[in-house]
């Protein structure tokens, strides 16, 4: 299962943190820093997977942003790697060529996108069409 999802920029600023385990605030901050340290030292020749404590991080870099998903060691690496990409494509469509600023100014909408695609640490919906249709309904509401 997914333990948490993080979006961070290269400087380590968090653009999204979604937790599926109960951590206290200090522990969250520690995890955020550790993930940043682990992921940013890796280059394109490295794998997209890093062992992390008792778990692993599956991550992908898009321009200056790192999308990281922390999952169990036995989870399927490639499935989560593509889950990240699927999520990014939805964001891209939703925000018309998404950029970091969109995530800053619309942070509360990003949470809605996440909740449509992932819930309780599992994959909820994978169809981009279905997710976007639902998000459009929300946008049309007041």
């Amino acid at each position: 299962m997914i333990r948490f999802i993080l979006i961070q920029n290269r400087a380590g600023k968090t653009r999204l943190a979604k937790w599926y385990m109960n951590f206290d605030d200090d522990e969250k901050q520690k995890l955020i820093e550790e993930v940043h340290a682990v992921v940013t030292v890796r280059d394109a020749k490295h794998t997209n997977f890093v062992e992390f404590r008792n778990f692993k991080i599956v991550y992908r870099r898009y321009a200056g942003l790192y999308f990281c998903i922390c999952v169990d060691i036995s989870d399927n690496n490639l499935a989560y790697l593509e889950a990240i990409h699927n999520f990014v494509e939805v964001l891209n469509e939703y925000f018309h060529n998404v950029c970091e600023l969109d995530l800053v100014f619309n942070f509360y909408k990003v949470y809605s996108v996440v909740d449509e695609m992932f819930l309780a640490g599992e994959i909820r919906e994978t169809s981009q069409t279905k997710v976007l249709k639902q998000l459009l309904v929300y946008n049309s509401l007041e």
Binding site: H46, F49, R53, D72, L78, E82, V104, F105, D115, E142
Partner: protein, 955 residues
């Protein structure tokens, strides 16, 4: 799609812009404080805030919180938003609550009420928001409140798909919080049938829930097997155009396929031949598709396809029943080993590790050895190299061990620091496991020390010593090799330790050669002495004194070193003591005594390699707030063809004593010179293990079941376990649910140092913890016991160590009492035990020949000097066991003295401060009658009686 840059809430966008424009942290804090003051005054003053404004301010507070600042107000306004009818207001309210409000917040009652309202709303969007909120928070209270409602929502025909998806995962979250809300009975089949749902999104969500339910109750949910197989079959055989929305880069429903394949890994291969056939077809199709030309050059296409492929291979490995599929899987992974994508090479190595453990595919995996070795040498990413090491370890067997170990040794020279220690252990284990020739094993370990000395842990070099000591055929070779290794100009300290130990034991085996004569050996070792740490020097001192025995011709050289100022006056007390004592020993003792004291170490009891135990230990986990089951790390160990040395797992027979750590007795806190303590201690170990079997220790002696009343009505709780301590010094004295007491004692003449280890087994502190020793009758005049006080608080799970120094003044019969009082959870606890301190503990084995034995025997002819008992055997009359007990008792077993070889003859001296009592013992078994006659003669009548009493209970 709307252009969304802070649309809807201008104030929020302005505020975020302001924050972004702040030039410094101080400016940012100032701006935030200004905003907080503004929001506070809005919330406090103006009662006419409309929904929009509330939403905007709550959203700003949320933003401020996410920047890392504390928010201590606004919660009520957020809860108010929940009852709004507008989606955007509700959404912000729920978001604020799931991010910011903890489960025990006082507003939780209100929140739960709002969620209840939304769950029963006719607007599915409101229901959905409520479900997502429950899934995000998932508190116990929510599980109790909604646990029975959500299954209804999940299977109801009126519920729309989007809500079903959330309901399934919401239920999963609540299950993880509170497992007794598992729906069962009629729900089971309805939930299982969600796998047949028309809506793929519902299946995608539900399969997660079903997977969790299956893990809790596989039998009840086994109906899911056939449904999962047919669903999978439909997806796998579908063309990518069939599934439209659920096709991802030309791959039909990759995530759902992956999940279904995982679901099936909860069960053995399907029993129903139809289902099984269909599943195998699916797996074949997936393997076939991997060979087809890609439908797209995009990495997304191949990733999605391979996500399914790897999961299929996991299932094939899990089933472990289709040799054909296993070999095909292996070939497929073999192709990936040389793929240009690092991810694929990594995953192929990882997956192949599992294949290597299946008997069907082990051989197929071995074909890729060369590629894996190349990966080890050329991969840029250390985690890939790590996987290559794992795979080499897993594919290793008797046929390729030398090659693989050789390659690993080669690589070790340049290996990353992060993986060296683990590699060293793996090499050490493989070398031991597959050694057919132990000279090879010795070479490997010495190479390890040479190449990566810093990473060779104690376990590794202890182990090589254990093996050399236990295997006579390799001792000479080992001595020769360590001698050669020492000659290298730069020599790792671990090498010095191993060499010191081995030469001290077996240096004589190579002393015939002029190039390694005693003097040369000694000089070579001593040339390293001053460069070594105190611990190593202490070891070398022991080697030197062992040389005194092995090579009398260099005794003077050694004595000169021992009495040099740098040793005798060394600031390390351990070195001082050893030098002094060894010097004295070498000067005073006769060659016979030296030969006995400095005798070659007895073999170590066979046991599982302690290195393996270390390797099995997993890395530390995520510390706080870990919820939900953690899956086990699947990295396999080498398991095939377990030949070579056989391990007997008798580690539980030596409780709480890290036996390997005692190997050299250096780190022992009891300052006892190694030579005095080590050989007897380990011979005791062997006999202890024998005794354990004899006494049938399976019925725990520590259960505290046996009680006996003494004198003034005190209940002694360890009467039964005392017997086993007559012949051993260390072990568990007592154990109940709260407390474990271990004992470790060392004796020297009439002195004893006893360590008591009090372990708190509970999750609470022990307060006012006071162990005290009392001597019944007039025991205090006979035993002088000094107790060091201990801390009065014993933390949960902690162990407290107490040292007792005992001096035996004259012989005694009573046992000291140990009374332990403490307060556990406000209840006073009291416990009285007898300390296993019997007179025989102060006995020293004495060697003598037949003549002197009988002379003494005859001299002790006063009737009071003899004690005799004729008794029926309680234990099997096994000669080895009897001998072990006699030796454990602390007396020398003498052979060739009694004309009847069946009889046991022993001698010992009991040391007390006032007197030394020589004891002669004869034990005559009569196997036909199952009887023994035990006769003891000593210079003191009370000693004879007491020894007779203690001994006869043992047989």
């Amino acid at each position: 799609m709307p252009a969304v840059r802070g649309d809807g809430m201008r104030g929020l966008a302005v505020f975020i812009s302001d924050i972004r424009n702040c030039k410094s942290k101080e400016a940012e804090i100032k701006r935030i404080n200004k905003e907080l003051a503004n929001i506070r005054s809005k919330f406090r003053g103006d009662k006419t805030l409309d929904g929009y404004q509330k939403k905007k301010y709550v959203c700003k507070l949320l933003f401020i919180f996410l920047l890392g600042h504390d928010i201590d107000f606004g919660h009520m306004e957020a809860v108010n938003l929940l009852s709004s009818n507008k989606y955007s207001e509700k959404q912000i309210g729920y978001l604020f609550i799931s991010v910011l409000i903890s489960a025990n917040n006082e507003l939780m009652k209100l929140i739960i009420q709002s969620i209840k309202n939304d769950l029963s709303s006719r607007n599915p969007i409101h229901v959905n928001l409520a479900l997502q909120c429950i899934a995000n928070i998932g508190s116990r209270e929510m599980a109790e409140t909604f646990g029975s409602e959500i299954p209804k929502l999940l299977v109801s025909g009126d519920t729309i798909d989007v809500v079903k998806q959330s309901a399934a995962l919401c239920l999963l979250r609540l299950l993880r919080t509170l497992s007794d809300i598992i729906p069962s009975g009629e729900w089971t089949s309805r939930i299982v049938h969600l796998l047949n749902d028309q809506h793929m999104g519902v299946v995608t969500s539900a399969v997660n829930l079903i997977d969790a339910l299956v893990k809790k109750n596989p039998d009840e949910y086994k109906g899911c097997i056939s449904l999962a197989v047919s669903r999978l079959s439909r997806i796998v055989t579908a063309s990518y155009t069939d599934l439209q929305d659920y096709t991802y880069y030309f791959v039909p429903a990759p995530w759902l396929s992956m999940k279904l394949l995982r679901l099936l890994q909860n069960y053995p291969p399907p029993e129903d031949p139809g289902v099984r056939g269909r599943l195998i077809e699916c797996l074949e199709t997936i393997l076939n598709k991997a060979q087809e030309p890609p439908k797209s050059k995009k990495v997304q296409h191949s990733n999605a396809k391979n996500a399914v492929l790897f999961e299929a291979i996991s299932l094939i490995i899990h089933m472990d029943s289709e040799p054909n599929l296993l070999v095909r899987a292996c070939n497929q992974l073999g192709q990936f080993l040389q793929h240009r994508e690092t991810n694929l090479r990594y995953l192929a190595l990882e997956s192949m590790c599992l294949l290597a453990t299946s008997e069907f595919s082990h051989e197929a995996v071995k074909k890729h050895q060369e590629t894996v070795v190349t990966a080890l040498k050329t991969e840029r990413d250390v985690s890939v190299r790590q996987r290559a090491v794992d795979l080499l370890y897993a594919m290793c067997d008797k046929t390729n061990a030398e090659e693989i170990v050789g390659e690993m040794l080669n690589y070790l020279e340049t290996a990353d620091y992060s993986i060296r220690e683990e590699m060293v252990m793996k090499v050490a284990i493989l070398a031991e496991k597959y050694a057919s020739d132990y000279t090879w094993y010795v070479d490997v370990i010495l190479n390890l020390i040479r190449i990566a000395g810093d990473y060779v842990s104690e376990e590794v070099w202890y182990r090589v010593i254990q093996i050399v000591i236990n295997r006579e055929d390799v001792q000479g070779y080992a001595a020769k090799t360590v001698f050669e290794s020492l000659q290298a100009p730069a020599c790792h300290e671990n090498m010095v330790k191993v060499a010191g130990y081995i030469l001290g034991e077996f240096g004589n085996l190579i002393a015939g050669d002029q190039r390694s004569s005693p003097f040369v050996q000694f000089n070579l070792l001593h040339s390293k002495y001053h460069l070594c740490a105190a611990q190593t020097r202490a070891l070398l001192l022991t080697t030197y004194v062992k040389f005194v025995n092995l090579f009398p011709e260099i005794r003077v050289d050694i004595q000169n070193i021992l009495k040099s100022n740098s040793n005798v006056r060394n600031s390390e007390v351990e070195l001082q003591q050893r030098s002094m004592e060894y010097l004295q020993l070498s000067q005073i003792a006769s060659s016979d005594v030296l030969a006995t004291v400095l005798e070659e170490m007895p073999p170590f009891p066979e046991r599982e390699s302690s290195i393996l135990a270390i390797l099995k230990k997993k890395k530390p986990g995520m510390s706080e707030g870990v919820t939900g089951p953690l899956k086990e790390n699947k990295h396999p160990a080498a398991v095939i063809n377990n030949t070579g040395v056989s391990y007997t797992k008798n580690s539980e027979n030596a409780p709480s004593l890290a036996v390997s750590a005692d190997l050299l007795g250096i780190s022992s806190s009891l300052h006892q010179p190694t030579i005095n303590s080590a050989p007897p201690a380990s011979s005791n170990n062997t006999s202890t293990n024998l005794l354990v079997d004899v006494f049938g220790e399976t019925t725990s002696p520590t259960a505290g079941g046996a009680k006996s009343a003494i004198g003034d009505g005190i209940i002694v709780k360890n009467e039964e376990s005392l017997k086993k301590f007559i012949c051993k010094h260390n072990g568990i004295l007592f154990e109940n649910d709260l407390l474990q007491i271990g004992i470790k004692s060392e004796y020297r003449q009439n002195l004893c140092q006893m360590g008591l280890f009090y372990g708190n087994k509970t999750n609470f502190q022990f307060l006012s913890f006071t162990p005290s020793i009392s001597s019944p009758n007039n025991l205090s005049t006979k035993l002088n016991i000094q107790v060091k006080p201990v801390d009065t608080v014993v933390e949960a799970g902690a162990q407290v160590h107490q040292i007792l120094n005992v001096e035996c003044i004259e012989d005694f019969t009573d046992l000291p009492l140990l009374t332990i009082q403490f307060i556990y959870c406000n209840v006073q606890q009291k416990l009285t035990l007898r300390l296993p301190l019997t007179i025989n503990k102060f006995s020293e084995p004495t060697v003598m020949n037949s003549e002197s034995f009988f002379t003494r025997w005859k001299n002790l002819n006063n009737p009071t000097q003899e004690a005799q008992k004729i008794f029926k055997a309680t234990y099997p009359m096994d000669s080895e066991a009897v001998k072990a007990k006699l030796i454990g008792f602390g007396i020398q077993l003498l052979t060739g003295i009694d004309p009847n070889p069946e009889n046991y003859v022993c001698a010992g001296i009991i040391h007390t401060r006032t007197l030394q009592v020589g004891c002669l013992i004869r034990l005559e078994p009569n196997t036909q009658a199952q009887m023994y006659r035990l006769t003891i003669r000593s210079s003191k009548d009370t000693v004879s009686k007491e020894l007779c009493k203690l001994l006869h209970e043992l047989f």
